[in-house]
Every structure is written in C-alpha cells, then in structure tokens.
C-alpha cells in the first residue's frame, strides 16, 4: 500500500465549531489513490468533523491537510471542488426547490454548458432513476432518492476524491444495501472514497482500510477486514457492531 500515491492526508488536525471547544484533538488520516476508506467510531468521536475540516467546512485550528502534496488547509470548499474533491453531506444534501436536473447542474457549476450535458448523461446512466425524473423537484424525493441525487451531484465534477458523510443514515435496510452498492460501484470507477459511517460492519466490509476515531483522536486503524475482527474495536464499538450484524 505504501508504494501507492497518497491523494489526501491530514496531519495532527485540531478543529471544532465553538471557540475554545476542540472536537478533533490531533487527528491523522491518509487516503491512497483508488482506495475506499471507512471512518467509524462512537457518536461525538469527530468522524463528520474530520471530513468537514478536510473539506474546508470547519475551521482547522492547527495541523495540515494536503491534497496530492499540495497544502489545502482551510481552503474554501468551492475551491476544493475545482481541485477534484467532492463532498456529500449527511443531511440536507439536495437543493429542495430545484429540480433533479438543476441539482445535477449545480454540481458542475464550474463547467461549461456542453460539458454539463455530457456529465449529466454519465450520471443518469449510473443512476437511471434520476434520468427518468429530471424535471421533478428534489424536495419531493424520498430519503434514498435524495442520497442518490446527492451522490450524483457530487460526481458531476468527476472528482478524484469523494467524501461521504454517513450516506446510509436514516435509510431503510434495503436502501442501505443500495447505497453501499453504489459506493462500491463509484469506487470501482477509480474514485478514491472516504466514507464516514455509523453502520460500522457494512462500512468496513466494503472498505479497503478503516479508521476508528474516539474522542477526536485516532483509536485504531487497519484494513477493513482486520478491523472487523479486531477485539479492541469490537469492545469499543460493541453495541453498534452487534446491532448492525
């Protein structure tokens, strides 16, 4: 793995929302090219904050974030999109008053109109359900459909790195299966993916590697399969692991 190129890296990240209250207290993270990396941990561990701070949505107080060896610490999110990073938030991840087509167009805001049409065709090929309802308002979609649209929107810029914040949150078990299948399919197209998940078992099953966070710091890391059977991880995370099996 070490011979592969590191696409996204954070070193000793300290970040938080409120002044004087740090959620991340020195977090380290690496994503290699083509990898699917899962981030799991108990509630309040700082999983979403890690992804948001790497994407410029939460202010990094100290530490460094690098994209392909270029420092991107605290760079605005719209500039990171230009550099090839996509992000799908956990909630409120579509523009409800815009149509599905407009949502996808907004995902490719920085592109020229002819390129947008081409990309939209690629996305509707990947998610045919979206293609059938392009004129429908996104606010009327179900949770699963919204998640699909949110991923489609983030893929419109053909990012090299995709950050997913709890993509299966709030979905029925059947829809969760669809989401994980979609994530795997996207990863197979060559997109490096970071996925924060509450559903630890399913996340680690499809992940090449995983990080377990606890109280804003790295607790454990390793291969997805390795973490699944690590007694320490099971002990720290037993409740959720047991529930999700």
């Amino acid at each position: 793995m070490s011979s592969r190129r590191v696409v996204l890296e954070s070193k000793d990240l300290v970040a938080g929302y409120l002044p004087g209250v740090d959620i991340l207290t020195g977090c380290n993270f690496k994503l290699y090219q083509g990898e699917l990396v899962g981030i799991i941990g108990p509630n309040g561990a700082g999983k979403s904050t890690l992804v948001k701070s790497m994407f410029g949505l939460v202010e990094v107080r100290s530490g460094v974030v690098q994209l392909l060896n270029e420092e991107i610490t605290n760079l605005a999110a719209h500039e990171l999109v230009r550099k090839g990073v996509g992000y799908v938030p956990q909630t409120e991840n579509v523009f409800p008053s815009l149509t599905i087509a407009e949502n996808l167009q907004m995902g490719a805001y920085q592109l020229k109109p002819n390129e947008v049409q081409e990309r939209m065709k690629n996305i509707t090929d990947l998610f045919p359900k979206l293609g059938q309802r392009l004129k429908q308002r996104a606010g009327l979609l179900s949770g699963g459909e919204r998640q699909m649209l949110a991923m489609g929107r983030a893929l419109m810029m053909e990012p090299s790195v995709l950050l997913l914040d709890e993509p299966s949150a709030g979905l029925s078990p059947a829809l969760q299966v669809d989401v994980f299948e979609n994530v795997t399919a996207i990863n197979k197209t060559g997109v490096s993916i970071v996925m924060v998940e509450q559903n630890a078992t399913r996340c680690l099953k499809i992940s090449d590697r995983g990080y377990v966070l606890d109280q804003g710091k790295n607790a454990y890391d390793g291969t997805g399969e390795g973490l699944l059977h690590d007694p320490n991880v099971i002990k720290l995370y037993l409740g959720t692991m047991a529930e999700s099996r």
């Binding site: 719209h78 815009l98 709030g170």
Partner: protein, 288 residues
C-alpha cells in the same frame, strides 16, 4: 383595475430584492425601502441638475438603476459581507439595517430637502386610449418597463446559471459551497440585482407619485407585506405578493375610503397567511 395592476407591478419590482437578499443571507433588510427611495432621488437629481429630461429621461432611469446596483455592491462589500463573515447573527444584522435605513433616510433629507417633488418630464400628460383603457402615456411606460423587468428577472432565475445558483444558495448556502458555487460571489450578485431593482422600482414609483425623503418609509410596510404574502425568500413569491397587495389596495378604493386602502391590503395578507402560513408560493417539502 389597471391602476391596481400598475401599483402591484411596482410593489413587486421593489420587493424582489428584499426577498432575494433574505433568501441567500437570511437578512431582513430594513434599509431596502431606502434603496427604493435612493433610486428615485438619483433619477430626479439626474433629471433636474444634469438635464436628463424629456427624451433623455430613460437614460436617467438607467443611470439610477446602475447607481442602485453600485449601492448594493457597496453595502455588501463594505458592511454586510464583513459582518456576516464575522459570524454576526441575523438579528444583529437586522438592527444594523435599521440603523442604515435611518442614516440613508436622513441623508436623503439633507441632500434632497423636505419638499416633495415630481419628475418634470412627466408632470402633465394627456390620456392615451388603448381599447377601453385610457391612461397617461407615462403609465404605459411604467407598466411596460415593470412587466418586462419582472419577466426578465423570472427568466434570469429560471433559465440562467447565475439565477439557478441564486436559488441554490437560497436553498442551502453550505451545500452550494460544497457543490463548487462561490457563495460570496453569488450573494454579491444578489445584492447588486436586488438593489438595482429597488432603484428601478423607486424611480417608477416616483413617476406615479412624488419623490420625497419619506417615500421609503411609506412603502416599507407594503414591501414587507408583499414578501411575506408571496412566501419568504422566493423572488416569484415577492412578484405574486406584490401584485396581490397592489391590486387589493387599489381595487378596495371602489368601495372604501382611499385612506383605508393599505389597511385592506394588509388585512388580505393576514387572511391569506391564516389559510396558507407559508405564503402563496412558499413551498412545502417532503420530510424523510
């Protein structure tokens, strides 16, 4: 009826900016009505002192609109943008806008004076018949300009990338930023567009009534009523709300005293909101 349409179009024109700015920033801008007055005063100044009257008057209108856009740019760049980036709450920003409204109102009083004035170019006009309708020529001009502008704003919002990005930022600024939209730039364009439209609305209102230092204060309530009635944060709502308020107030004079016309409009607003709390075009979203 035509008078109601005219007033409705003008209220709509003056209201869109307030709704757009609220939509993208959450700011309830009490200074918006002074931006309406600003446009009228600038156009009057250009007509009376620079000599852009008669056939040159449309140029005065264009320059007043550009000045309005410039004012919006200045307010966002100099005041509201920096305060927003310092995480000032919307309540505090609203208080700032109230202070700004007073400042602008009294600056207009100082430089314009307390005497109401009318545009020289359109002071006396005979009626022009168009089928059963007979109106002064300036009213056709006003209705035409207002209608065309509203149509163009609608097309801008629905058919252009900038307009769609404005609606996206209005829906969810954080998601817009995550999608690659430069949110601060979009907000700047909303301020420029909203202020320019307010300026145009002010100039047109000045043409139908008088230009005076208190004209912003007088139209403030109607603008807020239009925006609330149409659905907060939606430009199309402001258009529909403005038309409804203008129409209701003007047509009520058939049956009621002229002094009561704004009260009727506000009563209509309350009744409609009781039936439809999110406003006429405020949208309901599916949950889950």
């Amino acid at each position: 009826m035509v008078s109601g349409l005219k007033v409705g179009l003008l209220v709509a024109l003056a209201s869109i900016g307030l709704s757009l700015i609220f939509g993208v920033t959450g700011l309830v801008n009490f200074a918006h009505s002074e931006m309406v007055a600003f446009g009228a005063v600038i156009a009057l100044l250009l007509e009376s002192t620079v000599g852009l009257n008669g056939a040159l008057f449309p140029l005065a209108v264009v320059l007043a609109v550009l000045a309005g856009g410039g004012l919006g740019f200045g307010l966002e760049r100099g005041i509201f943008g920096p305060l927003r980036r310092r995480k000032m709450t919307n309540i505090s920003l609203m208080v700032v806008s109230i202070g700004l409204a007073f400042l602008m109102r009294y600056l207009i009083l100082i430089y314009h004076g307390a005497e109401p004035e009318t545009f020289e170019s359109f002071r006396i006009q005979s009626g022009v018949s168009l089928g059963p309708i007979e109106l002064p020529a300036k009213d056709y001009f006003i209705i035409g300009i207002a209608f065309t502008t509203l149509l163009m704003v609608g097309l801008l919002l629905q058919r252009t990338k900038l307009g769609t990005s404005m609606r996206a930022v209005s829906d969810n600024p954080a998601l817009a930023e995550s999608s690659g939209i430069d949110v601060n730039r979009t907000i700047m364009w909303v301020w420029i567009l909203g202020s320019a439209l307010a300026s145009l609305g002010g100039t047109m209102i000045g043409l139908t009534q008088v230009v005076e230092w208190q004209m912003g204060e007088k139209i403030l309530l109607l603008i807020f009523a239009a925006v609330t009635l149409g659905g907060l944060g939606t430009a199309f709502g402001a258009m529909v709300g403005g038309l409804a308020i203008g129409f209701a107030s003007e047509t009520s004079t058939f049956w009621l005293d002229n002094d009561l016309k704004f009260l009727i409009a506000l009563a209509v607003m309350i009744v409609i909101l009781l039936v439809r709390p999110r406003g006429i075009l405020g949208v309901r979203e599916r949950l889950g």
